[in-house]
Symmetry: C2
Subunit: 459 residues, 2 copies
C-alpha cells in the first residue's frame, strides 16, 4: 500500500506493525557497519521518517551507497521506535532507487546561508526551513479563502493587465507586444499597433475594480498578484507580490476594523492549528517565542486611536526620536514600534491627514483628515491598510481634480457613487508581509517561491 508520510503521522496507531510502501527522497543518510539510517521525506509532512535497514537485506551493500537527495521507493514495516527521538520508524524490507543524485547536489545536510539558498531557489523547498515556509504559505492562503467564503464573500479576480492606475502613482510595469527593436529603428511609438491599442500596465491594486463588485455582492475579496516597479532593495519590497483586498458595502470605518481584527485572528489560529510542526520549528529556530507572540495576538483586544491622538502620545513621550512626530505627517517605524509597545498590542490608527493618503478615501467632516485606518502590529509594523471610501460623487471629483487626476478616465468608478451608491469600506493585506509575521522569516525574498526584485528575475 503506497501511503503519504502525512497520513502515517495523522494516525500512527493505524500503521504500526503494518507494511507500507513509501516514495520520496533521502534527506540524510547515516551508515554503520551492519545497519544504516535514512532520514526520509516525501514532502507531504514537515517531519521526516526514519528508515532503518540492516545487513540481513541481500542488497545491503548497494543500499548503503544511496546518496543524499536520491529518490526512492521503499517497502517496509512501521514499527515502534526503540530510540527516544521518534515515536516510530520504518524497518526496510526493500528499497528501489528511482533517481540517483550526484555528490555535487547543493542541498547537503549541513547549514546553508539563506543567500546561498536564494540562488538555489528551485531546490530550497527541500530544506527544512523553506519546506516549512512554503507549506505555511499554502495553509495561510487556504485560511484566507476559508474565512471569506464561510462568511459569504465572493472571491473576485481583479484584472492584472490594466489601463488605469489605482494609486495615481507611477512605478508600474508596462505591458506591450510592440517590438522594441522596431520602435528604436522607426523612431516613434505607435500605440495603436500595441495589443490593446493603448498603453497598458500591470496592476498595483485590484481595489477599484473590487468596489464595482462590492456594489453587487455586498462582500467581496480579491486574492491575487499585484506589481510595483519600485527600485527599492529592502527586506520588505518585491516587484511581484500577492494581495488580499476585501471590499464591503454598507460598512463604515469601525465595521472594517471589526473585520480586519476578526480575520487576522482567524488566520493566525488556523495556521497554528494546521501547521503545528512548522510553527514549532519557526518558534524554536527562526524567531524565538513566535508561538507566544501569535497566541498573544489572538487573545488581545486591538486598540483604536486616531492619528491625532497618536501624535500627541508620541510628542509627550520622553524619547529622543530620529524623526520628530508631527500632526499632519506620516509616522515612522520607531513611532509604530513605540505605539504598539505603549498599548502592548495591535493598534488601529484612524483618521489620517488627507494629504498623505489616497484620493478615494472618505473625507472627514474636519476637511483635513480621511477615514483611513492602518493596523500596526507588534513585531510587524503596518500590516493592513484600509479606509472607508468616498461615497460622495462631488467630493470625489473635487479631490481627483486637486490631485490632477482626470475624472473622465474613471467615469465607471465615479458612477458607482451615482448608481445606488452607499457607504462602503475595504482594506489591503500584503500576503508576504503576513507571512513574514507568521513565520518570523525576515526577508520577503524568503517567503515567495521565486521572488522578483530589481535586477532579479531568475527561473
Amino acid at each position: 500500500m503506497i501511503v503519504d508520510v502525512r497520513d502515517i503521522y495523522k494516525d500512527v496507531s493505524k500503521y504500526i506493525d503494518k507494511e507500507v510502501v513509501l516514495q520520496g527522497w533521502v534527506r540524510n543518510h547515516r551508515r554503520q557497519k551492519e545497519f544504516g539510517f535514512i532520514d526520509f521525506s516525501d514532502g507531504t509532512a514537515f517531519k521526516n521518517i526514519q528508515l532503518v535497514y540492516d545487513n540481513s537485506l541481500k542488497d545491503f551493500e548497494s543500499i548503503a551507497k544511496i546518496k543524499v537527495g536520491s529518490s526512492l521507493e521503499v517497502r517496509g514495516m512501521v514499527i515502534k521506535s526503540e530510540g527516544s527521538l521518534q515515536e516510530f520508524e520504518v524497518k526496510v524490507l526493500n528499497i528501489k532507487l528511482l533517481g540517483d543524485c550526484p555528490d555535487e547536489y547543493p542541498i547537503q545536510p549541513k547549514r546553508h546561508t539563506r543567500e546561498f539558498l536564494r540562488e538555489q531557489a528551485y531546490l530550497r523547498p527541500r530544506t527544512n526551513l523553506f519546506n516549512a515556509v512554503f507549506r505555511v504559505r499554502s495553509i495561510a492562503a487556504m485560511a484566507i479563502h476559508t474565512y471569506f467564503q464561510e462568511r459569504g464573500y465572493v472571491y473576485f479576480h481583479a484584472p492584472l493587465i490594466t489601463a488605469s492606475d489605482c494609486e495615481g502613482a507611477g512605478q508600474m510595469f508596462q505591458v506591450t507586444t510592440l517590438d522594441l527593436d522596431r520602435v528604436a529603428k522607426s523612431g516613434n511609438v505607435d500605440y495603436s499597433k500595441d495589443f490593446f491599442g493603448k498603453t497598458t500596465a500591470l496592476t498595483v491594486s485590484g481595489q477599484l475594480e473590487a468596489e464595482t463588485f462590492a456594489m453587487a455582492y455586498k462582500k467581496v475579496y480579491t486574492f491575487g498578484p499585484t506589481f510595483r516597479a519600485e527600485n527599492s532593495n529592502t527586506k520588505t519590497h518585491a516587484s511581484e507580490f500577492w494581495m488580499i483586498e476585501p471590499e464591503i458595502a454598507f460598512c463604515d470605518l469601525n465595521g472594517v476594523m471589526d473585520i480586519e481584527e476578526d480575520m487576522l485572528k482567524y488566520i493566525v489560529k488556523y495556521v497554528l492549528e494546521h501547521a503545528k510542526d512548522e510553527m514549532e520549528f519557526f518558534s524554536k529556530y527562526v524567531e524565538k517565542g513566535l508561538i507566544e507572540k501569535l497566541t498573544k495576538l489572538i487573545n488581545s483586544k486591538f486598540t483604536r486611536i486616531s492619528h491625532h491622538d497618536v501624535i500627541k502620545i508620541l510628542k509627550e513621550a520622553k524619547v529622543k526620536w530620529e524623526f520628530e512626530p508631527e500632526y499632519g505627517e506620516d509616522i515612522a517605524r520607531e513611532h509604530e514600534k513605540y505605539i504598539t509597545e505603549y498599548f502592548d498590542g495591535p493598534v488601529f490608527i484612524t483618521d489620517w491627514p488627507k494629504d498623505i493618503k489616497a484620493f478615494y478615501m472618505k473625507l472627514n467632516p474636519d476637511n483635513e483628515t480621511v477615514a483611513a485606518v492602518d493596523l500596526e502590529v507588534p513585531g510587524a509594523g503596518e500590516l493592513i491598510g484600509g479606509s472607508e471610501r468616498e461615497a460622495d460623487y462631488d467630493k470625489l471629483i473635487k479631490r481627483m481634480k486637486e490631485l490632477n487626476m482626470d475624472p473622465a478616465s474613471m467615469e465607471w468608478y465615479l458612477n458607482l457613487r451615482k448608481f445606488g451608491g452607499c457607504y462602503h469600506s475595504g482594506f489591503g493585506l500584503g500576503f508576504e508581509r503576513l507571512l513574514i509575521y507568521l513565520t518570523g522569516v525576515e526577508n520577503i525574498r524568503d517567503v515567495i517561491p521565486y521572488p522578483r526584485t530589481p535586477g532579479n528575475c531568475d527561473f
Copy 2:
C-alpha cells in the same frame, strides 16, 4: 438586527415574524395605488427578497418614488407570503434611501444583450445572469482549493513575470520599465537598463516552476493568472485567464488520469451543492438540461483510449469529415464531438504524436508518441491537458535540441532530472473553460469579470 439575505434563505423559519434590517439595492419596483412591491437584493444570495409596503406608512409617497438601482436600508418584518411565488416576504416598517439612482441607470429590469452588458462590465454583476456567473466562479475556485488542500497538496504561487518561456512559443506580453519614447528617440534598446536587466515577459504557464516544488512536496497545485498575447478573437480565447496546474511526483499517466477524473467530479458536485439556485437558473435559462449534463458527468466512468485508436474509430466512422482524421496529426472539434458521443461520456485520449505536443512530455518506447493525455468532455471539448513529464535527462536534452531550444537556459529544469529525479505528471485546467462548461455561458468574455482580448482593456 442587520442581516444578510443569504442568512434568511438559509433558515427562513428562524426569521419568520421577526424584525430585520436589510441593506441592499432595488432590482425592480412595482407600484400600485395603495401599496407597492420592491424586488430587493443585497447581493449575498442569488434570490431577491420581496419587500411589501402600503400607504399606512407615513412616507408612502416618497417610498413609491424610489427608483430601480437605488440603495436602501430597510426595517421590516419577515412574514409568510400570501402569494404563491415566494415562501416569505418582508413587510416594510421603514425605508431609508441611502443612494439614489437616476433614470439613465443602464441596468433597468428588462432584457439586455450580453454584448451591451460587456460594455457595462462594471454593472453587469447586478443582473441575474452575471450575478450567478461570478458567484459560481467564486464557488468553483473554492471547490478547487478545497479539493487539493484536503488531499495534502501544497498551493504554489508561480511567478508571473518570467524570463523563461514554458511552451517554447512566442506570443508573450513583454514586461518593461524602459521608456518607449526614449527608446524611439535613442534608436536602440538597452536591456541592461530595464528593470530586471534583461527581457522579461508574462508567463504562459507555471508548470515548469511547479515541477520544482513537486520534487519537494510530492503534490502541488498552482491556481493563478496566465497570459497569451494571441491575436485571436474567438469565444474561448482571452489574453489573461486563470489556470490550475497540479503537479505530482511519483505519478504516471494513469495516475494523473485518476486525479483529473476525481477532481472534475468533485468540483462539479461541489458547485451543484453550493450554488443550487444559480445552477437551476442556468439550467432553465442559459443551457437547457445543464444540471442533467453535469449529473451525468459525475456518474460516468471516463473512457481511456489512445490517440491511435481514436483515429482508427474516426476513420472507420461513416461520417463526411471537414478535416480528414490522420494518424500523427491533431484532432479537430468535429472529431472530439464524435468521440465523446461514441463513448457517450468523457474520454481520455492518450499517447499523442510527439510532434504536436510539448517538449517536456515523456517519450514513449515507440519513439513516436508521448505520454500525453487530453480529456474530452461532451459539450466542452478539450477541458484538461496533461502528461507524464520526461524524467530522463538525456532524452529531455535531445528533445530540446531537436526543437532548437537552448538547454543551458533551463539548467535548473534539467537538474530536476539529475537531483533525485522521479517519474512525475501534471495537468493544466483552464479555469474559464471549466466555467463555460459549468454555467453554459458560451463566451469566455462572460465568465471573466474584466476580460482582456485584442484591442480590449477597459476598466
